[in-house]
């Protein structure tokens, strides 16, 4: 069934086309198209997963010019990312419908939203570097309208910075891809890359290409010092931030680095070139730097942004550790961080929408007023710190064990230090939520209270938040069950380390 990856990709593209075609005021029809597309896509990805379990791997290939082909391939690693993006797309779509109620330009928003998810799926299912770059650039262009959605001066400025960073990075990435193509010809992603044969003659060139590729991908993955766009992009609406941080942009960068290391260069070649040490160093710096900056933040969303910078580099850190445990840690954190971060952003959005809270010190006593949101936030925050039984613990465990097995003991120090720093900036927030007295106890008033629903806030906002929080807990608590993120990561890692 070679058409399966193509159809899965097409679902979002068709949805985007229909949404652009529908008039602005067709709220109901647009909602139906959005939800139907999201559900269908989730089902298709589920179907692909079943086929992979049964040993089928679907590939769609279309030659463009000689030696260059457009390839979509549903392999285990790609489907892992596709599964995350389609699950969170559904949640985020529901959330966005509630969040953007009565706001202008919804047609534009949802159109580009679908395009953005289509490109993420393209990135996940891309079968070679050429296809990957196409969707990677498409992602840049389709997220720009989402970042500047509010249209005010601050949003436009953030959008300019975003484009400046990502387009430059796109050029650098393209340069790396072209150079690699001229050196080794067309390179399909594969579990047993053949690039290692070039090592004796072209070691230097391969290192330089690697730096170019990682440099190009590192901008989206927000590696320090290429992270400057991310905190500024916080002006985007909450669902966009959630999507940007959890699946789409930042993760696309991290996923690209995964692909380059495992399926283009191969982990042996990366280690032989000494590039894994480079990755470990920049990832460690990013993790600590992001945590330190997060401590100093006064507002909730920038705090979460710096936390993302720190957390996504866990994935890169895992990639740099040679050995199955490190790889499992990297892969599983790709999923876990997505689930937990999306929860945290949903919560931040709930506080902002329902009570008008943006600053951390306005959160006093919000646990009383919005208990379910606050529980979800607590789950996300504890998961980010890496406390069991939440998913973050599982990834941290595998990363730490991987570091020991790769004989990189300092990495454990980085992990422990980062956990403690995470506690340092998340605990004060939790303290304010649960232990401080605030407007809910008759002291002062909320910045801008709106009663959005019968529950603590609108159901459109609340249910996706609860769902992702619940999955974050279950993914950790029952990590040993089949089809859990951990089990799937172990399956993928087993393929990479096949003799």
């Amino acid at each position: 069934m070679a058409w399966l990856p193509l159809v899965t990709l097409a679902v979002s593209l068709v949805a985007a086309a229909i949404i652009f075609w529908l008039p602005e005021h067709a709220w109901h029809r647009r909602t139906w198209v959005n939800l139907a597309a999201a559900v269908i896509k989730l089902m298709l990805v589920g179907f692909i997963i079943l086929r992979i379990v049964n040993g089928h791997e679907d590939t769609f290939s279309l030659p463009v010019v000689e030696n260059v082909a457009f390839v979509l391939r549903a392999d285990a690693l790609g489907v892992m990312f596709a599964g995350l993006s389609s699950l969170l797309w559904l949640c985020t779509t529901i959330y966005a419908i509630g969040y953007l109620e009565d706001s202008p330009n919804r047609k534009r928003f949802f159109g580009f939203f679908s395009l953005c998810v289509a490109s993420t799926l393209g990135i996940a299912l891309a079968g070679n570097l050429f296809t990957f770059v196409i969707f990677y650039e498409m992602l840049t262009l389709s997220t720009y309208p989402l970042v500047v959605h509010r249209g005010n001066e601050k949003a436009l400025a953030a959008g300019r910075v975003y484009l400046r960073y990502t387009l430059t990075a796109g050029v650098v990435l393209l340069l790396g891809v072209v150079w690699l193509h001229s050196l080794a010809g067309s390179l399909a992603f594969s579990e047993v890359p053949s690039l290692i044969h070039y090592l004796p003659d072209y070691g230097m060139q391969l290192s330089m290409i690697f730096v170019l590729l990682v440099g190009g991908l590192g901008v989206k993955a927000a590696i320090v010092p290429l992270h400057g766009w991310l905190p500024r992009a916080m002006v985007a609406p909450a669902p966009v931030s959630a999507l940007l941080h959890a699946v789409a942009v930042v993760k696309a960068g991290a996923f690209g680095i995964l692909r380059v290391v495992y399926d283009v260069y191969g982990i042996e070649l990366t280690v032989a070139l000494g590039m894994n040490t480079l990755l470990a160093v920049i990832a460690s710096i990013t993790i600590i730097y992001g945590s330190l900056r997060a401590i100093a933040q006064q507002e909730l969303k920038p705090l979460l942004a710096f936390s993302t910078i720190s957390q996504v580099s866990y994935v890169i850190l895992g990639v740099s550790l040679f050995g199955p445990s490190g790889t499992i840690g990297a892969l599983v954190h790709l999923l876990h961080q997505g689930l937990m971060k999306v929860t945290l952003f949903f919560c931040a959005g709930n506080y902002a929408e329902e009570l008008g809270i943006h600053r951390i010190d306005d959160l006093n006593g919000a646990g009383r007023r919005m208990p379910l949101t606050s529980i979800a936030f607590t789950v996300g925050a504890l998961g980010m710190i890496g406390l069991p039984p939440i998913a973050g613990f599982i990834s941290k465990w595998y990363l730490g064990v991987g570091a020991i097995q790769a004989n990189m003991h300092t990495v454990v120090l980085v992990l422990v230090l980062s956990s403690m720093l995470n506690a340092l900036y998340f605990f004060p927030v939790l303290y304010r939520l649960w232990f401080c007295q605030g407007p809910a106890h008759g002291q002062g008033k909320w910045p801008e209270e709106r009663r959005l629903g019968r529950l603590e806030t609108s159901g459109w906002l609340l249910w996706p938040t609860m769902l992702t929080a619940l999955i974050s807990v279950l993914a950790g608590l029952f990590a040993g069950l089949p089809f859990s993120p951990l089990e799937w990561a172990i399956r993928v890692a087993a393929l990479e380390y096949l003799p």
Partner: protein
């Protein structure tokens, strides 16, 4: 599902359900006022208590976390028994202790309502963590239980919400985070090195690993935060006096024992192949333990608050236990004889300390009984703790017995001397309680919990599920050897008190939390230093940005000049073209 499985499920599920019920009731819109500490809430630890007496068992669950292995073996059964018993009695005591606050809450005092809600939710959660860490035999479940207990207990420490309570809570939390970090580091290192997910595997891994001593050192310090290792103990005297009496009882009785259990779980105790490095660590632990045993006694007697004195007494007792555990590393052959004594010591100290802390609340509101009788009863757990009576005597004797058998007489002498310190501390506590006794009026539950704890303390060896014949009562001839430290302590207190009264010198009182204030100074100093550094970095950044902007301006100026040339060229196109044509024509002519 056999009966023991059901009881295990209840032991963990029942307290969790109580926490959830309390949470749910907060947001239900009931019209009549809540009773926060219901009998269901009090009964939360009962299934765990039952579980301890049902015999040994093992459970394996692949799908739980990284794969669960839960076990009730000789140590964990005894541990669960005294922990669950203490929690039960403290819960009963709490029902009486918080009766006044309950009335206030029912009368509509919102602050009291908030405090009671928090207690009703966090108490059973802390208990769940404590039970889980005892039955867990795999690393992930153990760490889960430990973390849950640690962080949920924060709410118990800051219950009253006063400035002192918040300060104590902060000290508790900062050190708890530090401890969790150290534990995580040690667990990851040990488990990664040995490729294991279970605690027995970790023990063997640490014994055989080349750098096992460093893993063990990390875990020693990490669990040492809870167990009050000298230097990391500062939260104890800050948090204990401010927490409500029942919370102090479980903090000091059950929760700091979790740190000790952590050591028993991860150290290669009694494994002779562990190597010299581990023995060296054992010696360091031994010295530190004894230093804590004596130092805490010397510092603690100058405290004003009876609960602060008791906190120092806990540090001192844990110091003695540390030195006993250290013996398992220094001389592994001793361990098979020593461990029942250690478990009995821990159990006895847990209940005695629980009874003493509950006693402080009883003396604040004495029941209607003659004061000599009341203070006689209040003195009993202290007497037992110093080894002069009841279970304390049996515990001291079994410890001595085990050490005698292997010829470690030096340590016996030191521990006996430390018992003088213990008796000093408990006498001072009693004296402070006498000075600070309040208006009569105890609640029946408060009194009941305390009395039951008293009886359980004295009879500990009778009900504790230890292997048969592992502890024996001392023969009469040894009696004097166990009692004299207590009498010496009493004597010192009486003489000292007399001297102080006669001399009318300045009354000495040292701040609770000793080294905490030193740390606070260091941190303040570091903060200033970091601020200066950050200011400098910001200045450097500004300079770099300014210089890059200058470069940009320079480049722009060059580009503008080029544009000017281009404009000039455009302006003179026709003339230039003609000149060019002329030049070409001339060239062709030549």
């Amino acid at each position: 599902m056999s009966p023991i499985d059901v009881v295990l499920l209840l032991a963990l599920g029942w307290p969790l359900m109580m926490a959830l019920l309390s949470l749910a009731r907060v947001y239900s819109h009931a019209t009549q006022p809540h009773v926060y500490l219901t009998w269901g809430w009090v009964s939360a630890p009962w299934p765990a208590l039952l579980l301890a007496f049902l015999g040994e068992a093992q459970w394996v669950m692949e799908s739980w976390l990284l794969g669960a292995l839960w076990e009730l073996d000789a140590i964990s059964r005894a541990w669960l028994a005294f922990t669950a018993l203490l929690w039960s009695l403290a819960a009963l005591h709490a029902r009486g202790y918080f009766a006044g606050e309950q009335l206030k809450a029912q009368a509509g005092d919102s602050a009291a309502q908030r405090r009671m809600i928090r207690l009703a939710i966090l108490w059973p959660l802390t208990l769940t963590g404590n039970v889980l860490l005892i039955v867990a035999e795999d690393i992930a479940s153990f760490y889960l239980g430990f973390a849950l207990m640690t962080f949920a207990a924060y709410g118990l420490v800051i219950h009253t919400g006063t400035r002192e309570a918040l300060h104590g809570g902060r000290a508790y939390l900062i050190l708890a985070v530090l401890g969790e970090g150290l534990i995580l580091g040690g667990l990851l290192w040990g488990a990664g090195d040995a490729q294991t997910l279970t605690l027995p595997g970790l023990r063997e891994g640490i014994a055989s690993a080349e750098q096992g001593v460093w893993m063990a050192a990390l875990l020693w310090l990490g669990f040492g935060v809870k167990a009050g290792v000298m230097g990391l103990h500062v939260w104890l005297p800050l948090a204990h006096p401010v927490a409500p009496a029942p919370a102090s009882a479980v903090l000091s009785g059950a929760m700091i024992k979790a740190g000790l259990l952590g050591w028993l779980n991860v150290f290669p105790l009694g494994l002779s192949g562990a190597g010299d490095d581990i023995a060296t660590l054992g010696r360091v632990m031994l010295v530190m333990g004894l230093a804590a045993a004596f130092g805490a006694a010397l510092y603690g007697i100058w405290q004003r608050h009876p609960k602060a004195v008791l906190a120092y007494s806990s540090i001192s007792q844990m110091g003695m236990l540390t030195s006993l555990v250290a013996m398992g590393l220094v001389a592994p052959d001793t361990w098979p004889f020593l461990w029942p004594a250690v478990v009995l010591f821990a159990a006895h100290h847990a209940l005695a300390k629980g009874a003493l802390f509950m006693g402080t609340s009883v003396s604040e509101h004495p029941p209607r009984m003659p004061l000599p009788l009341l203070f006689g009863l209040l003195a009993l757990p202290g007497l037992s703790l110093a080894g002069a009576l009841g279970a304390g005597m049996v515990s001291k004797w079994s410890m001595k017995n085990a050490l005698y058998a292997q010829g470690h007489t030096g340590l016996i002498t030191l521990l006996t001397l430390a018992a003088v310190g213990t008796s000093l501390l408990v006498s001072v506590t009693l004296w402070r309680q006498w000075q600070q006794r309040g208006e009569p009026g105890s609640h029946a539950c408060q009194l009941g919990g305390w009395l039951a704890a008293l009886i359980a303390t004295l009879l500990a060896p009778l009900w504790l599920p230890l292997p048969a014949d592992s502890v024996t009562p001392p023969p009469l001839a040894e009696w004097w050897g166990l009692v004299w430290p207590y009498l010496t302590g009493i004597g010192i207190v009486v003489v000292g008190w007399g001297l102080l009264r006669r001399g009318s010198g300045p009354s000495v009182s040292l701040p609770a939390g000793d080294a905490w204030w030193l740390y606070a100074c260091w941190v303040g100093w570091m903060q200033r230093y970091i601020q200066v550094l950050a200011g400098r970095l910001a200045g450097t950044k500004k300079r770099i940005v300014a210089s890059s902007l200058q470069v940009e301006r320079h480049v722009m100026r060059t580009i503008e000049r080029l544009l000017a040339y281009e404009g000039w060229l455009r302006h003179h196109t026709s003339g230039l073209m003609m000149a060019l044509a002329l030049v070409l024509a001339l060239l062709m002519l030549i």
